[in-house]
Amino acid sequence: MSEKLKISIKNLNVFYAEKQALFDINLNIMEREVTSLIGPSGCGKSTLLKCLNRMNDLIDICTMDGQVMIDGANINTPDQDPVLLRSKVGMVFQKPNPFPKSIYDNVAYGPRLHGMAQSKDELDSMVIKSLTRAGLYDEVKNRLFEAGTGLSGGQQQRLCIARALAVNPEIILMDEPCSALDPIATAKIEELIEELKRKYTIVIVTHSMQQAARVSDRTAYMHMGELIESGFTKNIFSNPQHQKTQDYITGRIG
């Protein structure tokens, strides 16, 4: 495990119009580790995740202050181009949302957008590489030009991961990636996360404590918009410092 700081969140406050959603969050995320955000629903973990690639910009009424530093640079400044940021910070959503296009086009969308491939061959190899990394290539190699929406739920989600990988991100954000999947598909995704962390920094929001315990190196527990506790996963689960964390992991709040 490297100890290099990748993302550093300092004094982050987020508001939806008048309502404050996040209160003074401070959190460090290390490079090439899996960090999971857990907590009861509505605690602000998804909001925090979306701050990391400024998806909150899409919501008019959402405002924030504080700093989110990636590789030492604040991303919350006006001159940070959110488009460039998002090609560096990939995202996988709660429900698999492949584009209504072929499997190939789904993966090729990002590289085409950013002009990453100079030739068709290069693009082909990017698509194949991303699909292989997402552990999907063997299953779909004979039907790359069929609709991505025709895949099973778990395959769709891996397609979405492949799509995110294709733009060569450094960080991958996952917003409850398995909540719409069955146990077998979930297991596959978890294996994949294990695999991906060698190359990428991963932040995952999950409502399943078992999942957090299985896949993550570090865990942050949130409650009512506040970060209660964060640290190595094994410590959080075996020896929580706060009463609220203990209540949650023992199932008293949920």
């Binding site: 181009d81 950013h114 002009g115 990453m116 491939a117 100079q118």
Partner: protein, 455 residues
């Protein structure tokens, strides 16, 4: 000449697209560029094309207005504004070679000469300035291609501006309607008293047709026209409301899914038939039918222009407005309400009357208002089947006229634009516009209310 200019601009724009795209692409690895080469090309071609084309259009319209003004000077001795317009049009047509008609007026040939020379100079100047602007901007846009240049941001903000502009058009349209109606209406009220218009009992604009009589003896009391409009609309509602309501009740409460899927679209076809077809139907089929019926009671009681003819045909036309909206409103009532009532042993009709209709009341009233607004604004049926003479009566078997009939009658055929007679049409349209607007606003608010209630 101007067509060639458009083509030249188009070629320049395509050229600048190719050049800038190529330059951006040669600047190094793709992913080091802020924007893709395509956007650099687009940026450049927009810059080359858009300002020049705006200038061109602007110039052309100014040129039209200026030349028109300058040839107007040759006809200062003509007093009739309509005649001046005709002369000016003739000069333009003659100069452009559209017609070879020469007007017998001293100023005609000098005007033609003046017009031709003005147009010629202006066009030459236009070509030079517009192409010049385009080329200058083209050169400027080529210089800005760098790795960091945010071509995509600029192109996108231009596109956003275009979208904003499009959505403001709708407001311009409304302002255009209000202003154009208001302007002429105010001119009308300069010759005719507002109260005489709104509350006068005698409408005969035709007497004002001769120039020496303008405003002096034409009578513009619009009450008979308003009353006629309302009479015909009420007859239409008397036909449409029961049929439309009961259809909606049957379709939403009784009919099977199969019947619904076929019957509702079939009824809605009635709303898709052009109104001119209804007008023809009224004249050819319904009028003789009512006349024969009238003759059986006492010969000659019914003319072919009786209010009841236009009214009943209009009623058929607005049935679907009521059926559709009422049906929607009734379907929006949660089924739990209906089930609750049925579970207490109420019959479907009792449930409908005592639960469904009160619960969807806002939607039903909204449908009536929209249908009524549609009826008073409907034109072709009444133009073809109702009368032009304004009788002050509420007897459905007599001939009445409507606002729309008057507007069409006053504004088609030969007209002088400034007479009180033509202007009165705008005043009528103004009243019509506001009446339908108010009805519509009330109806839309009611629809909103019932939607909020059950969503």
């Amino acid at each position: 000449m101007t067509e060639l200019l458009y083509i030249a601009l188009f070629i320049l724009a395509s050229y600048s697209f190719m050049v800038n795209k190529g330059r951006a692409a040669s600047l190094g690895k793709f992913n080091t560029l802020h924007s893709q080469p395509y956007y650099h090309g687009l940026y450049s071609s927009i810059l080359t094309f858009l300002p020049a084309i705006i200038l061109l259009i602007f110039w052309s319209s100014i040129q039209n207005i200026m030349t028109n003004l300058s040839i107007r000077d040759f006809f200062v001795d003509v007093s009739d504004p309509g005649l001046i317009k005709f002369y000016i049009d003739s000069v333009i047509n003659y100069s452009n070679g559209v017609s070879s008609k020469i007007i017998e007026h001293d100023g005609f040939m000098p005007a033609v000469e003046k017009y031709s020379s003005l147009t010629y100079t202006s066009t030459i100047l236009k070509v030079i300035v517009v192409t010049g602007l385009s080329i200058i901007l083209l050169r400027a846009s080529i210089k800005v291609v760098t790795v960091d240049f945010k071509a995509r941001d600029y192109v996108e903000s231009m596109f956003t501006t275009l979208m904003k502009f499009s959505s403001v058009i709708a407001i311009f349209v409304t302002i255009g309607i209000v202003l154009s109606l208001l302007f002429e209406t105010l001119r009308f009220f300069a010759t005719v008293n507002v109260f005489d218009f709104l509350f006068g009992l005698h409408w005969s604009p035709q007497t004002a047709i001769r120039a020496d009589q303008v405003g002096s003896s034409g009578s513009f009391g619009a009450i008979p026209v308003f009353l006629g409009t309302i009479l015909i609309s009420i007859i239409a509602m008397l036909v449409a409301v029961p049929i439309g309501m009961y259809s909606a009740i049957y379709l939403s409460q009784y009919a099977s899914e199969t019947v619904r899927t076929y019957a509702k679209p079939i009824i809605e076809i009635l709303a898709g038939i052009p109104t001119v077809v209804y007008g023809f139907f009224a004249v050819i089929t319904v009028a003789p039918f009512f006349r024969d019926l009238g003759d059986k009671i006492s010969p000659g009681t019914l003319s072919g222009e009786s209010a009841i003819i236009a009214g009943s045909v209009m009623g058929i036309m607005i049935i679907p407005f009521i059926t559709s909206l009422t049906d929607d409103a009734m379907n929006a009532v949660p089924s739990s309400l209906k089930e609750g009532s049925l579970a207490m042993g109420a019959t479907v009709s009792e449930t409908t009357k005592q639960v469904i209709i009160p619960a969807s009341f806002h939607g039903i009233v909204a449908s009536f208002l929209l249908a009524f607004s549609r009826a008073i604004g409907e034109t072709m049926i009444v133009v073809m089947a109702a009368g032009f003479a304004a009788n002050l009566t509420l007897n459905p078997f007599e001939s009445v006229t409507t606002v729309t009939v008057q507007i069409v009658g006053l504004l088609t055929g030969d007209q002088e634009f400034d007479s009180a007679k033509t202007l009165s049409a705008f005043a009528l349209a103004f009243v019509l516009f506001f009446l339908t607007l108010i009805l519509n606003i009330i109806a839309l608010n009611m629809v909103k209310k019932y939607r909020e209630q059950y969503e």
